[in-house]
Amino acid sequence: MSINADTVKHVANLARLNISDDEVESHTNQLSQILGLMDQLNSLPTDNVEPMTHAVDMLMPAREDVVVNGDSREILLNCAPDSEDGHFRVPKIIE
């Protein structure tokens, strides 16, 4: 399986990455190589192997349903590029 320049541009756009034409070319090559490796894996017999969804072999830890947090408005608003009247202020979203 290979990947073309249009797919790379499309994925970059979805990820909001601004990449140059040179980068499109090198990413196309690199991603195609990675997909080539996937093809190799696909050629292996995996009928009796459980699909893996996580790299670390552990189970989901869970916490009790108690409130221990939440009162950090000023700290978090101070980290934001802009804020106003208790809100994060962002460029106008609606057209």
């Binding site: 994925v11 969804t53 349903d65 947090n69 994060f88 962002v90 979203i93």
Partner: protein
């Protein structure tokens, strides 16, 4: 209602149900509605680098309970995924959701329609996910504001099969699903506040066609009535398009409840390219059978079972049983009132049901109140029904007493005593009133005796008027007939 008999409507619903946990799904911030902006947020909510989500145990329990309540299969292994999209109210740039391995699959529920047998609607899946924050646009010049309080609110997305065929089906499905989550006490089911939100997928096809038509997704439906109206509007719109030779395009449409129309949400074609992948910050969720069994043992009596019991044991109609089990507050109210009536030695669940579904709900609706804020308590309504059953007051006087109770509070016995409304069952005083009325209306008496017996109603009315409605009407009838002989 079939809008055009040549077409069949196909509807599937997606419901987002906010769970009533104390804390959020992945952090220890409070999970509540209506606080000042950004006063229940932490670094996890704000999507700071390096923070990790930690699963709320109660969220999983609530999801399992909901799954069991709709006869769903609980997956022993389920996996969280990232749904990637950019929007300012989601600071991480992705939503943690479930994709190919949701916690519940293959459920069902049964909807109640007037004069029709119960209909089965499949529930494809229920998955767990986080809610996003809120953007505020109105009244802000040159910018938008973001409130992250809602980020991390635990959500169940409940997806139905495309099993509904008209807007009434959809309305009945939502009512039943809302009753179930309310009985389970996992969600308050408030559509206006957005704790129970519905998107509708609607398509039409010619009868007999095998393939579904192209569907539109309807959003911004904040009441059951709006869901039904939006569906009817959409079905008309799609049939008109097809009939005029045009094509239905797959799109998302926003419902405008003020204008009763929907409009297309112009969206970029790649808006649905979410590039899901397994969430690296959360290992798979495993569930033991013992946990499922333990939760199953805690399930309360659910609406369908309770409605059946009301019919079997109390002789209520299917319709009344359905109304009285629409939510837990309603069924609790009815059962408490009915208990009072039974204790007065006058078992009459039907009369109690009539008072709750008729007089009480009628007045509550008029005032825009919910059952749990009723000015008339269940105990007092029960006492009122008991007073009618024991013959102390007539049904007509009871309505007056009820109005007093609703407007000024108080218990019915006191109101009856204070206002002197007790039914007159003393035959000598009734006889006296009857004699007075007969004397005052000699013409009518003559007409009656001449064979015009329907005049009796007029005379009964005069006696009731003279006693200000307090005379026992059956006794008035008997005495009148006697005297007119």
């Amino acid at each position: 209602m079939p809008i055009d008999p040549n077409y069949e409507t196909v509807i599937g619903l997606e419901v987002h149900s906010q769970l009533r946990t104390k804390s959020k799904i992945f952090c220890g911030c409070p999970n509540k509605y209506g606080s000042d902006a950004n006063t229940q947020i932490c670094h996890v909510c704000a999507g700071f680098p390096g923070v990790l989500p930690v699963m709320n145990r109660e969220m999983v329990n609530m999801a399992i309970k909901t799954g069991l309540a709709i006869n769903g299969q609980i997956r022993k292994l389920s996996v969280f995924s990232r749904k990637n999209y950019f929007y300012p109210d989601s600071p991480t740039g992705y939503q943690i959701s479930q994709y190919d391995l949701p916690i519940v699959e293959h459920g069902e529920l049964f909807i109640d329609l007037p004069d029709e047998p119960k209909k089965r609607i499949g529930v494809t899946r229920i998955h767990m996910e986080v809610d996003a924050g809120k953007s505020i646009h109105e009244g802000i010049v040159g910018a938008s504001w973001v409130d992250l309080n809602r980020v991390g609110t635990p959500l169940l997305e409940i997806v139905s099969e495309p099993d509904m065929r008209c807007s009434e089906d959809a309305g009945a499905y939502l009512k039943k699903l809302r009753a179930i989550v309310r009985f389970l006490d996992v969600c308050d089911g408030n559509m206006e506040e957005g704790s129970f939100r519905c998107d509708a997928n609607v398509s039409v096809r010619r009868y007999g066609a095998e393939k579904f038509g192209t569907r539109a997704e309807l959003k911004n439906l904040n009441s059951i009535r709006n869901v039904m109206r939006a569906i009817d509007f959409e079905v008309d719109r799609q049939i008109d398009l097809i009939e005029s030779g045009e094509e239905v395009v797959q799109e998302t449409r926003l419902w405008d409840a003020n204008k009763n129309i929907s409009r297309s949400m112009r969206s970029k074609e790649d808006a649905h390219d979410y590039r899901y992948f397994p969430e690296p910050d959360l290992p798979p969720l495993t569930i033991e059978q013992s946990q499922i069994d333990a939760l199953n043992a805690t399930l309360p009596e659910l609406p369908d079972a309770m409605a059946q019991r009301f019919q079997d044991e109390m002789g209520l109609s299917e319709y009344d049983a359905g109304v009285l089990t629409a939510c837990r507050e309603m069924s609790t109210y009815f059962e408490e009132a009915n208990q009072v009536v039974s204790e007065a030695g006058k078992k009459n669940a039907k009369a109690t049901a009539n008072w709750v579904t008729g007089e009480l709900l009628g007045r509550l609706n008029k005032e825009g109140l919910e059952i749990d804020s009723s000015p008339v308590s269940a105990q007092n309504l029960g006492k009122l029904v008991a007073l009618i059953q024991t013959g102390e007051i007539s049904g007509k006087i009871a309505k007056k007493v009820f109005t007093h109770m609703f407007d000024d509070g108080g218990d019915p016995q006191t109101i009856v005593a204070e206002k002197g409304l007790k039914q007159v069952t003393d035959s000598s005083s009734i006889t006296a009133e009857v004699e007075k009325v007969l004397e005052a209306h000699p013409d009518q008496v003559e007409q009656y005796r001449g064979g015009k017996t329907q005049i009796l109603g007029f005379l009964v009315g005069k006696v009731m008027q003279a006693t200000r409605g307090k005379a026992n009407p059956a006794m008035v009838n008997t005495v009148l007939k006697e005297k007119l002989g």
